[in-house]
């Protein structure tokens, strides 16, 4: 049986717009959220470009998934439980994909776009890359689920639902959700941590919908009242130009590879964690965390008090 579903994100767009307007009004009236027009414009332009790219490259992804469907182990069809199972397994896949997007520079070059704003509001949710096709994510992200036996239509549908869920968690307007919800689901609080550059928050909370994956795989960090999130990346951008935002890390990789002294170094620049360099002169998140831990340790020893200095990172 073949079915066609409308792209859920298209249905969601009017709601996205309505919620962004509501958050802007909330920001203006309470001061508890921040917007800046050029930042908003850049984020929204990135979102629009991402949608265009999605339309342009959808055929490639669809063709690939349809091609590999013939090699599926099982045929689950469209039974009700297949939708639920696909949603959960897709979120599990998202967790690992997202984790690699922060720990492998090739994938980071794409994902850094989403982290490149120093603001954290609903427009940030829409700040998405244009050139994801370069990562070849489409070849492996949903492939294993199709090879297992889920129809590509279901995988595409639950993938869109996953992204729609993540829209509302990009806000400072919601402090905490009820405790039971915070325990299981990804929330604004958990995701603020993910976007923060404070060393204690670096490389934490990769979840899409269910925060349980971070708790299972040791990457969970709750938001601390005493450690206010600082958003952005190690080297915050001095531009609002969407094309520069889209390409800057790809450009950085190309420049580093062109200047590398050996094939090993070149591969390191492409696949090692962001911030890696052959001589260690740059800083990875791991190194930043180590430096912060060392500083915190010495500060505690010296003063008997813990006042960690905040430093930004990727």
């Amino acid at each position: 049986m073949d079915i066609e579903l409308i792209e859920p994100i298209y249905i969601a767009i009017p709601f996205f717009v309505a919620f962004i307007i509501a958050e802007m009004v909330y920001a203006r009236t309470t001061g508890k959220a921040r917007f800046e027009p050029r930042d908003s414009a850049a984020s929204l332009a990135m979102g629009l470009g991402n949608t265009v790219a999605g339309v342009v490259f959808a055929g490639i992804t669809g063709t690939w998934l349809t091609f590999i469907e013939q090699f599926a182990l099982f045929d689950f069809g469209y039974v009700w439980w297949a939708w639920i199972a696909a949603f959960v397994l897709d979120d599990f896949t998202y967790y690992w994909s997202h984790r690699w997007a922060h720990t492998v520079r090739w994938f980071w070059a794409d994902h850094v776009v989403h982290h490149s704003s120093q603001h954290y509001n609903l427009t940030t949710a829409l700040r998405q890359p244009w050139f994801t096709v370069f990562t070849f994510k489409f070849m492996w992200l949903g492939s294993w689920l199709v090879l297992l036996g889920f129809p590509p239509v279901i995988i595409a549908f639950v993938g869109s639902l996953n992204l729609i869920y993540q829209f509302w968690i990009h806000t400072e307007a919601i402090t905490r959700m009820p405790r039971w919800f915070e325990a299981v689901m990804n929330t604004p609080s958990h995701h603020r941590v993910h976007h923060a550059t404070n060393p204690i928050y670096l490389d934490r909370n990769y979840a899409g919908v269910f925060i349980i994956w971070d708790k299972m795989f040791g990457t969970f960090q709750p938001e601390l009242d005493e450690e206010r999130c600082r958003y952005g990346i190690v080297k915050n951008l001095g531009t609002w130009n969407p094309l520069r935002i889209s390409l800057h890390e790809w450009w950085g990789i190309a420049r580093d590879v062109a200047g590398s002294k050996s094939p090993k170094d070149a591969l390191g620049y492409i696949f090692a964690p962001p911030g890696w360099s052959p001589d260690g002169s740059r800083m990875t998140s791991k190194r930043i965390k180590e430096m912060w831990e060392a500083e915190r340790g010495s500060a505690s020893a010296d003063a008997g008090a813990e006042t960690p200095r905040r430093v930004p990172a990727e």
């Binding site: 767009i13 802007m24 027009p37 930042d39 603001h119 531009t239």
Partner: protein, 137 residues
């Protein structure tokens, strides 16, 4: 056709949202209050930067240059919108630094994400001195 209409609608929505953001206001352009504040922000942002004594604050409060304690680097802090952006200037970081009348430095970085910036010092001699220091290879 439907996709095209959706994209046109999305473009109109984006434009309307930005216009609404401009109209509703609620943000304040960032300003750097003092060299000490600039040094502390640079220390936080750049991690390996310890601010020294020498520094200069732009007359409009939109930029600051602070030399590191060991004199090896210059930290540059720039007001962008309602945020601040930091850069560590090492030998070779700057493509060129031109001085204009009114003590203005036009700084061109070799940085894809921060190509050009303007620092208004209001003092021609100081601008020339800093421009020379910044463009040193």
């Amino acid at each position: 056709m439907t996709t095209l209409l959706i994209l046109i609608g999305a473009f109109a929505a984006v434009s309307a949202l930005v216009a609404f953001n401009v109209w509703i206001g609620g943000w304040s352009p960032s300003r750097i209050e003092s060299i000490e504040d600039a040094g502390e922000t640079l220390r936080q942002d750049l991690l390996i930067f310890e601010p020294g004594e020498k520094g200069v604050l732009a007359s409009d409060g939109l930029a600051a240059l602070v030399e590191s304690r060991d004199g090896k680097f210059v930290g540059y802090l720039s007001a962008r919108g309602d945020t601040l952006v930091s850069r560590l200037i090492e030998p070779g970081s700057v493509a060129r630094a031109n001085v204009r009348d009114g003590g203005v430095i036009m700084l061109h970085f070799k940085d894809f994400t921060f190509p050009t910036t303007r620092i208004t010092l209001g003092d021609d001699d100081a601008a020339r001195e800093w421009a020379e220091r910044l463009s040193a290879e």
